[in-house]
Amino acid sequence: MSMDEFIESLKEDRKVRGTKSFLRRVIASWYYQIKIYVSYKMNLALEIIDIVLSALIYYYIGFLVSPEDLIKLGYSPDYIAFALSGIALSRYIWTSVARLAHKMRHEISGGTFESLATVDFDNFKSWLAGQVLYGFTWSSSVFIGTLLVGYLLGAKFSRNPLIWLQAVLIVILIVAVHSAIGVMAAGMYITHKQLETLLVLMTAVIEFFGGVIYPLALLWNYPILYYIALLIPFTHGLELFRRTIMDETWITDPEMLFHLGVLVAFLPLIYLSFKVYEHYLTVAKKKGLLSTY
């Protein structure tokens, strides 16, 4: 009996498959993670402190920033809105890019990944989707918290509901593109355990080049760095988001369309990412690498 036939024979009955069943498993994967998260109440309280203090740091740095320079670089003069929109959006990057690999390291080192594998029959698709959804939920709560603190500190974000609808769609697009990188990386992580560090490093690179706390136009003096920044999807996502909530620029604006076009070009990565994940999972199952770390 070949390895493929052996694995096939252990698979669950096909009857449990279907969209409804898939969604139930996605929700289950999301729900158990939420339950774990809310059971650490002290953690929750300290995270709120983190959000408030990190916002306050940029609030006070805002007193030092020259509003004229911000205007010259093409932004509105409100640095607190500028920095907090960047900080809020950057919260999605780690959860999209690196959290899945991080989660898998926990499951593997905790010895529970093989247990997950034994009850799995859709190549972890539902588990992964649930985990991506959880990452999105967690980041969204921090994202909203950061923006709310910003509002309270006087950041001049738009109050137009339609503009916010556009902003939400942009956020979903950014998360989808970056989650694709995360799913792909999680697959590679199963066989290459050093990858998690590189993913965290990638998060730092993305945040630096994305211009989270400084205007991207400052990189014009360093053309190589500027062009590297343009190759990163987050740079375009952040520009879209900032222009939307700070300047109320609609998506039909030519500059906005350019940034949107770049982000959309990365969308096929989502399909590719699940294929890559499946490939590495199959390799790991055959070689018995699921629980090694």
Partner: protein, 290 residues
């Protein structure tokens, strides 16, 4: 038979006299260093993120007005101001979080009981860990300061300021260590390591003015600032490196005095708190639970 009697029976006073304390501290330091060297990609990550941070604040400094930095007494360059905050941030993390991080990891991997049940006192193991973190953070300092100077930070580096810097860093670690020891005790008690460490780091970074002068804070918040030893450590290091003054300068001397008071008063209290929680955890068998 009471728990105390059982513990006393297990104790063996004779076996611990052969190895000197300094050798034990050194061994604990080497142990931590060897573990770290096994994770080379994490080291690369550590260095890379710090370097990115230097570049981020370098770029940010182009749009910062110098007035408030000057008013606080730190010259006219925001980049120099922020660079010092970044350069010594690893020492801050070392003194505030290293012990709690160590305990949390040992708890998580199930090795805490094995480590703490050896005849070696936990203070010796802590000192070894601390020496490792001092060594590791110093490598960051040696990379970041020259990089900052290369990017145009106006720092005065000579034999006098370097010697002052060394003394001030040792004082920074010693004066902030009591908070780190209490944080480690909280990890033993509440079994939640990272959040306490993060909160401590953020609280200290905010109130001590790592990225902005504390003179910007309103009076009711400055009270918290003045209560933290890190505020004085950062002030002394910045003042010394920006103006090229030594330990005998009035402002630096005042900061040194405050740091010494924190060390002398805080350390015995912190060790007492830790020992109480540690002994309770051993007696109730909860040392390795997380």
């Amino acid at each position: 038979m009471s728990v105390d009697v059982v513990i006393e029976l297990f104790r063996d006073k004779k076996v611990s006299g052969n190895v000197s304390t300094i050798r034990k501290i050194f061994a604990a330091m080497i142990r931590r260093l060897k573990i770290r060297l096994n994770y080379k990609t994490w080291m690369i990550f550590d260095f890379a993120t710090t370097i990115f941070m230097v570049f981020t604040y370098f770029l940010l400094s182009f749009i910062i007005l110098p007035e408030d930095i000057s008013k606080a007494g730190y010259g006219s360059s925001y980049f120099s101001f922020a660079l010092i905050g970044i350069a010594i941030s690893h020492y801050i993390t070392a003194s505030l979080r290293s012990l709690s991080l160590t305990i949390r990891l040992e708890q998580f991997y199930g090795t805490l009981e094995s480590v703490l049940s050896t005849p070696t006192d936990f203070i010796i193991l802590f000192l070894g860990d601390l020496m490792y973190f001092f060594f590791y953070s110093s490598i960051f300092l040696l990379i970041i300061l020259p990089l900052g100077i290369l990017l145009g930070a106006g720092l005065i580096i000579n034999a006098g300021t370097l010697l002052t810097l060394l003394v001030l860093i040792v004082l920074l670690m010693i004066s902030n260590l009591p908070i780190g020891v209490v944080s480690a005790a909280m990890v033993l008690k509440f079994k939640q390591g990272n959040p306490i460490g993060w909160a401590l780091t953020w609280i200290n970074q905010f109130f001590a003015g790592t990225f902005f002068p504390v003179t910007l804070l309103p009076d009711f918040l400055r009270v918290f600032s003045l209560a933290l030893p890190l505020t004085y450590s950062l002030d002394a290091i910045r003042y010394s490196l920006i103006w090229g003054v030594g330990l005998l300068n009035e402002r630096v001397l005042f900061d040194v005095a405050i740091m010494l008071i924190y060390s002398i008063v805080g350390y015995p209290i912190a060790v007492k708190i830790f020992r109480k929680i540690y002994d309770d955890a051993r007696k109730t068998g909860k040392l390795g639970i997380y």
